[in-house]
Symmetry: C2
Subunit: 160 residues, 2 copies
DNA sequence: ATGCAATTGCAACGGGGTTGCAGCTGCTCA
DNA sequence: TGAGCAGCTGCAACCCCGTTGCAATTGCAT
């Protein structure tokens, strides 16, 4: 099943509002979901599902990873949440209206840059002109070498 | 451990030559490796490790997946082999001097395009100019929407 | 309050790949 | 030619990231 994260973004100013968005769609505002949404609002940066599950243990019953995944998936279907694949590790989740849309990941040092959507407009233009594709660097990053690694690589670097 | 597949490509005209490249580095040309290299030479397109292991059962002892992975890794370190991540499935391996260097993957329909390295020169230029990065679409593809999906998406598509 | 479908929590599973280790085997050197 | 010994193999167990099945629970509309 392809077609992921192409849902329009939904912005929620706060936890109550986000839960309201669920109820409006006939979904239930359960305590597990409240905790998850609170954790997402509390997170400064995109976080992994295990991190979210770990952070959720403010509730007595241990936060279940499977439920976290299910709920993240549902929140993403709704448009409240978005995730990115930043390398080989687990995906990073964040409230949809918070993510700085575009990512670059360095293949050599692993560094991840987050850029405002406008920053790569020229790149998207070039892709459109030369291939007809509509490039998106939100769900999967643009991969390459960051300036530092590109430099050390151009000079005959001696790593390894 | 980042830093993958940045080794310079090594071309081997045939199986004997490839095995020679191993010996030249103090590595052993074992029968398992011979079978693997033969399978790679026989493959018309990039193949997965499980496919390689399955194809290797010309030898009496069943080809071991773990050994296949270890040997692919080693061949890649040497520069004889390269792999690409074409979506969510397993990685695709091929002889380094055979891969059509650049890939585009459609997030909506899953389609994968392979383009000659020159095709994305302008894109790499745009990336370099606007970010200072050296983009590479060989190991991880450029992700976005293919022309068809971009069109149906622009029109208010009703999928889902 | 009551009913009942939506959810949870737990455990088991699945794909993709890595690792530990005992035993086998290319390769080098006498 | 064959002995010695790293370098490998094959097997099984394991790890990570998620997903799924299912019985028990719980929102929430009535």
């Amino acid at each position: 099943m392809p077609a992921a994260s192409l849902t329009p973004t939904v912005a929620a100013p706060d936890v109550e509002n986000a839960l309201g968005a669920l109820r409006a769609r006939g979904l239930r505002a359960t305590s597990a979901r409240r905790l998850l949404v609170e954790a997402l609002f509390a997170a400064a940066e995109p976080v992994t599902a295990p991190e979210l599950a770990a952070g959720l243990d403010g509730g007595v019953p241990g936060a279940d990873l499977a439920a976290v995944y299910r709920n993240l998936q549902m929140l993403e279907r709704i448009g409240l949440v978005r995730h990115t694949h930043a390398g080989h590790g687990p995906a990073l989740y964040a409230l949809a209206d918070r993510v700085a849309s575009e990512f670059l990941r360095c293949e050599a040092c692993g560094d991840l840059w987050a850029l405002p959507p406008s920053a790569l407009a020229l790149v998207r233009d070039a892709v459109r002109r030369t291939t007809g594709w509509e490039a998106r660097f939100t769900h999967f990053p643009l991969v390459g070498l960051c300036p530092a690694c590109a430099a050390s690589h151009a000079a005959g670097d001696t790593r390894r």
